[in-house]
Amino acid sequence: MQDIIITNARLIDPELGESTGSLFIRNGLISDAFDADENTQVIDAGGLCLAPGIIDIGVKVGEPGERHKESFTSAGRAAAAGGVTTIVTRPDTDPVIDTPEILEFVARRASAVAQVRVLPMATLTKGREGREMTEIGFLQDAGAVAFTDADHVITNTRVYSRALTYAKSLGALVIAHVQDPGLSVGAAATSSAFASLRGIPAVSPMAERMGLDRDIALLEMTGARLHIDQITTARALPALRRAKENGLDITAGISVHHLTLNDLDVADYRTFFKMTPPLRAEEDRLAAIAAVAEGLIDIICSMHTPQDEESKRLPFEVAASGAVGLETLLPASLRLFHAGHLSLVQLFRALALNPAKRLGLDSGRLRIGAPADLVMFDPDAPFVLDRFSLESKSKNTPFDGARLQGRVIGTWVGGTRIFGGNPDA
């Protein structure tokens, strides 16, 4: 494997801060400085940013069951184009990933065709039905990095507490979606004057806080490791803070859509803006940004959810939820940088370092010995997003036509360039 030296780079190290200089890659790992010889590839970054590759938790790939929406091949290309070097995939496929056999199929498909690292998750309960826990041990042996029923909330707290207890004994990470299922049933928007005016069935933001409070109580009871997939409301944040201060093993994430868009973006029933949980009020969005800045919310993800045209070209109430995000995660996140809310170092803590830490990975940092999973980007390059230019098979992005600033110039996984420039170089 060829050695690489990337010179003249603005290095964004989420552990040590920002600096200018060179980065050395040997045997696919970030290494100590060495002198170039004729076999070394030297790349002049020309002052562009070089950061650890993004680790995106909660990516939906349509395999098995919905390959027409997204395959591992197209998801891999989309990730590479977006500077995402590791995708952690959701198990809410068809069939769901609830046995070691299905998980092994997914892992095999992913490693054969995806250009980026793929870490699959499995469900916590069989069929995502919340009745019986899955074979957590076997699934872990087969490569499951975390356990989640995705947006299905386990309503039976006895089943849930047992699953958490069992997961704790194996050191397994559980990922939960916190919404009170009773309040949220049938809702397609957050309660507001706007939702009332449009006649869209809505849910109070308090549903999230109620769901979180319940899960925190179960965590106190079981001592498990829990990551909340999305905290999107101001009212839930104090509960999260108390749980962390009390020493519970809890982290939280948020999608970039909830950090950059609000409920009014739905406008005249634009279904590309229909998400789970629904987009929130502007005050919630600002509170969430502040929480990311101080590290209370740990992780920013894309919550990549490909939906084909048929699933979205429906009345808002019945249209499918979710948006693609692998390719827009970085440029959309950079809106927070350009608006002065977050520094690039803070951003990459949430995009790379914190997810790596939570999953126990060596990547997500520029430390010597870490895998050379990298993204080079120009934070200032402006462009107007055309959804048909996306690599994803599905084109359901809320940023279609949006003015964004920040483009990926190159992506490396284990020292191999998978996007930008000459891939063979």
């Binding site: 309660s191 507001s192 004057a193 939702a195 009332s196 005016l197 449009r198 006649g199 869209i200 069935p201 809505a202 005249d268 029933y269 048929e310 070209r313 429906l314 009345p315 808002f316 109430e317 019945v318």
Partner: protein, 321 residues
């Protein structure tokens, strides 16, 4: 004439002068209908398709009659038995219909925003005959005409909209229209049926029926939508009637000449006492039905004029719409 819209999807996008234009024209249609002069030719040569994805005998009949009185060829499509049931999407249905080149499409759909979605995909004029919990613009317009005929004006009045506001598209359209025309609008009902967010629409919210009706010029009752009640909004119909059903005692605190309205169909003994509903001195309910035909004639007439104008312009420019 000041009516600029290509479709009638809701009250929200209409300006005050456009509302007045529709009501004025409807008033003249109502007068000529009363004189027995029901044959007009505003829509001669035009095709009107009524697509009702939700049952509604009275609204569908009203639109059908309005179209026929203006000379349109009217077709009713029963969507409950159509290909939609076989999995065809709303968009596919719209595209198929569009290929048949209708001029006016009257649509009712159980989901909010569905009619807007359909309007984006067709070239003809679309009339919203009620979409989910969103809007029912012709109902609000016919209510406005009814009020103006009874009160001589449609501004500066105190109007109480009572009952199941949460599930009512009629209420939303009326709140918007009556607000735009400069009236004092009150919403009266149990808090479970009036979301708190409504207070932001410039209305006053009451959970006490007598306080809400105090001095009101118009009392507009809403149907309790039992079919949409999936989560225990009220303890029982008899308790609802006791607290919020309109009877003579509650009506006595309204203005002495207050009129009573209801969009129908009524649940007698649930939201309204049958005696009040049938009181010809107080109840404007039959007038509402009558004005419904006139308002729909006016709306379709105005949309057809705009459609002809657009087609004329397109022909000059060599375009096809």
């Amino acid at each position: 004439m000041s009516f600029r819209a290509n479709h009638l999807l809701g009250i929200e996008p209409l300006e005050r002068d456009e509302i007045t234009t529709i009501i004025d024209l409807a008033d003249s249609y109502a007068a000529s209908n009363r004189r027995g002069n029901t044959r007009r030719d505003a829509l001669v040569g035009m095709t009107q398709i009524n697509m009702f994805f939700e049952n509604s005998t009275r609204t569908q009949s009203s639109f059908e009659l309005a179209g026929k009185r203006l000379g349109a060829d009217v077709m009713n499509m029963s969507m409950q038995t159509s290909s939609v049931k076989k999995g065809e999407t709303l968009i596919d249905t719209a595209l198929t219909l569009n290929a048949m080149r209708p001029d006016l499409l009257v649509v009712r759909h159980p989901h909010s925003g569905a009619v807007d979605l359909l309007a984006q995909k067709v070239n003809c004029a679309v009339l919203n005959a009620g979409d989910g919990k969103h809007e029912h613009p012709t109902q609000a317009l016919l209510d406005a005409l009814t009020i103006r005929r009874a009160k001589g004006r449609i501004t500066g009045l105190t109007i109480a909209i009572c009952g199941d506001v949460t599930h009512s598209r009629v209420a939303r359209s009326n709140i918007l229209l009556l607000g735009k025309m400069g009236n004092r609008v009150r919403l009266v009902g149990p808090p479970t049926l009036i979301p708190a967010a409504f207070a932001q629409f410039g209305v006053e919210v009451y959970d006490d029926m007598r306080a809400g009706l105090q001095g009101a010029d118009v009392v507009m009752m809403l149907r309790l939508q039992k079919e949409r009640m999936d989560g225990g909004f009220i303890p029982s119909e008899r308790e609802y009637y006791h607290r919020y059903g309109l009877d003579a005692a509650k009506l006595s605190v309204a203005a002495p000449d207050a009129i009573v309205m209801h969009p129908g169909p009524m649940n007698r003994g649930v939201e309204i006492d049958g005696l009040i509903a049938d009181d010809i001195h107080r109840s404007a309910i039959q007038t509402q039905v009558e004005m419904g035909v006139a308002v729909r004639m006016a709306a379709m007439d105005l949309l057809a004029r705009n459609l002809r104008a657009r087609r004329g312009n397109a022909a000059v420019n060599g375009e096809l719409i």
